[in-house]
Amino acid sequence: MDIVRRNNVVVTGNPDGRAVVLAHGFGCDQNMWRLTVPALAPDHRVVLFDYVGSGRSDLSAFDELRYSSLAGYAEDVLEVCAALDLTDAVFVGHSVSAMIGVLAAQKAPERIGALVMVAPSPCYVDDGDYHGGFSVEDIDELLSSLESNYLGWSAAMAPVIMGTPDRPELGEELTNSFCATDPVMARVFARTTFLSDSRADLATVRVPTLILESAQDVIAPRQVGAYVRATVQGSTLVTLDATGHCPHLSAPEATNQAIADFLAHLR
């Protein structure tokens, strides 16, 4: 199987630099890193990819069972690492991808030498003393919303509703194309993401870890950032003066600076 094609792998930056793998979360695709790449490129070999089911990945490789657990996405990461023969790479994961990186590092420690978690959350649902920010009902509402195709209908659903999935150019014409993934696959990713609980896995992290959080983020609120910091041994938490779940887009300079500082102190 051609993993590079399957995951739409793009390698850029300095070929002699340490590899930095940028992993998008639930929502869009590797385009999310467009403001991060220029800051990393001079000194690092930058690896971008789309998870199967997102962006320009090979949708025919989608397997609902595999991608119904974060371990399946971690397989994608490790297969990309193997295809490029990466060792000791820095894995930068946004949102749920931060947890996918933890799983990948657990399984193949030789591949991943450091983690950068951007707006991570090991569990989105409140559970006893743990405040994920959402109730089970909230998540159910999101999933049923996605399932009844209400949300983002016009952006993502139009080609499917029109019954012309064999005419991808219709999708291309949509202005919202960066996030116009297949709705069925998006639903699977959403379910896997928002019903995941990786809290136990956080304690297994043994590599230098940087946690970046937004000052204002409804998806990964401050309590969650503090929880991740307290659970990952020796991790560093940086709170960015940013709003929203995508500080790498809304506050790119601050995000890039924090990542650069972290990378500079590795080894």
């Binding site: 869009c28 009844s148 209400y150 996030c179 998806i219 887009l249």
Partner: protein, 400 residues
């Protein structure tokens, strides 16, 4: 009335009382301006909103998540997002389907300043979309069902078809055999049949035939033909076909006329000489092809009998032929010789068959049937009728 003053509108009022909701937020989503239409929809006073709520606060939880994971990043990347369906959370808990478009305003240096958002009431459209979606689900279900039914039917037909043919060819001492059946369509039962079985310790019977028509009715005749011929095999070939003729005629003469063509034969092998004596009769069937080891080939046009089942009693004269080591006898149905070639203008025909058979002279029934199967497979969808093949041969060196 005509001075125009009463007809004039101001940009301010047009904004405030527009039939669509309008709001502006700072880049972090905090609402800085909102029009009255949108406040009405929300059921909130202006001072509870401006400077106090962010745009995602106006949405349902699902909408908030969608906003954070899709809408906001897209807006950052593209500077605008158009026509996204979300739901507004109204005071009192009701929800209102909306369509949202946003655009980022930049300063002269390209720094993003604020976000302008327009919101349309999407009640009607949402109903329409839901109806579309419902219809699509119904259609998908129906298509699924149809595909399943079709697969079930094809399975059933394949099993039925197989039941009309021998599961495996028996081992005949001193004789090599091979057979093949090609189905023209998985959606239809064909009417061809063949068989090979022991009559007694020394003699074996074989037959290959073709029932007129296709489908379940033809398959029923095939079944009758096969078991009648099996039961009548202890008689000589002419009598066996005579019995089949009588049975079919009696059974179908009334209204639904059904008939078939067939070659029925017996063979007896002399293990000392290696020679095989064959005696056969034909009822309206394409002539068997004799392929001598040295390449001489001939169609055995016997004094042909009539179609089987048409007349109350028919004669089926017999032909006797002896196979020497290396010789073969090929039985086939007209599905082979009447397959369309050259874009449908011509039949595959006996000449092409003869030419191919000459090339395989002195080989084995297996090799011959394999070659003919390749020819049939090459016809692809142009194979309009089922085709049955049965080859009998004496191995070039006698079996020890």
């Amino acid at each position: 009335m005509t001075d125009g003053i009463e007809w004039a509108d101001t940009a301010e009022e047009a904004y405030d009382a527009a039939p669509s909701g309008h709001l502006s937020t700072s880049m972090d989503g905090m609402i800085v301006t909102i029009n009255s239409t949108l406040l009405d929809w929300l059921g909130l006073p202006r001072d509870a909103v401006v400077g106090r709520l962010r745009f995602p606060d106006l949405l349902t939880v699902g909408g908030k998540l969608y906003h954070e994971t899709h809408f906001a990043p897209l807006l950052r990347m593209q500077g605008e997002v158009g026509g996204v369906a979300l739901e507004l959370k109204r005071a009192g808990g009701a929800r209102m389907p909306i369509l949202v478009s946003s655009v980022v305003k930049y300063d002269d240096t390209g720094r993003p300043l604020l976000i302008r958002t327009t919101i349309f009431d999407a009640h009607v459209r949402r109903t329409y979309e839901q109806e579309l979606l419902r219809e699509r689900k119904v259609a998908e279900l129906a298509r699924h069902q149809a595909e399943e039914d079709r697969a079930r039917l094809q399975d059933a037909l394949a099993v039925l078809q197989q039941s009309l043919l021998p599961a495996t060819m028996p081992e005949v001492p001193g004789v090599a055999t091979a057979a093949s059946y090609h189905t023209a369509s998985p959606n239809e039962l064909g009417g061809d049949f063949y068989d090979l079985f022991a009559i007694d310790g020394e003699r074996w019977a074989f037959f290959l035939g073709d029932v007129c028509g296709k489908g379940p009715a033809a398959a029923a005749v095939t079944s009758v033909a096969r078991y009648t011929l099996r039961a009548a095999a202890m008689h000589d070939p002419a009598a066996a076909l005579g019995t089949l003729n009588a049975v079919l005629h009696e059974r179908y003469a009334g209204g639904d006329l059904r008939y078939c063509t067939a070659v029925f034969g017996t063979l007896q092998s002399n293990l000392e000489t290696g020679r095989v004596a064959i005696r056969f009769a034909s009822g309206g069937h394409p002539p068997p092809l004799l392929i001598r080891a040295d390449g001489r080939c001939e169609f055995l046009f016997s004094p042909d009998g009539t179609l089987i089942g048409i007349l109350p009693s028919s004669q089926f004269p017999q032909t006797v032929v002896t196979l020497d080591p290396g010789d073969m006898l090929l039985l086939y149905s007209d599905g082979l010789t009447e397959a369309r070639v050259n874009g449908g203008r011509d039949f595959y025909g006996p000449d092409a068959l003869l030419t191919l058979a000459m090339r395989y002279a002195g080989t084995s029934p297996d090799a011959l049937i394999t070659a003919l199967s390749d020819v049939l497979a090459g016809f692809g969808p142009r194979l309009s009728d089922d085709a049955a093949l049965l080859a009998l041969g004496v191995p070039a060196r006698p079996v020890s």
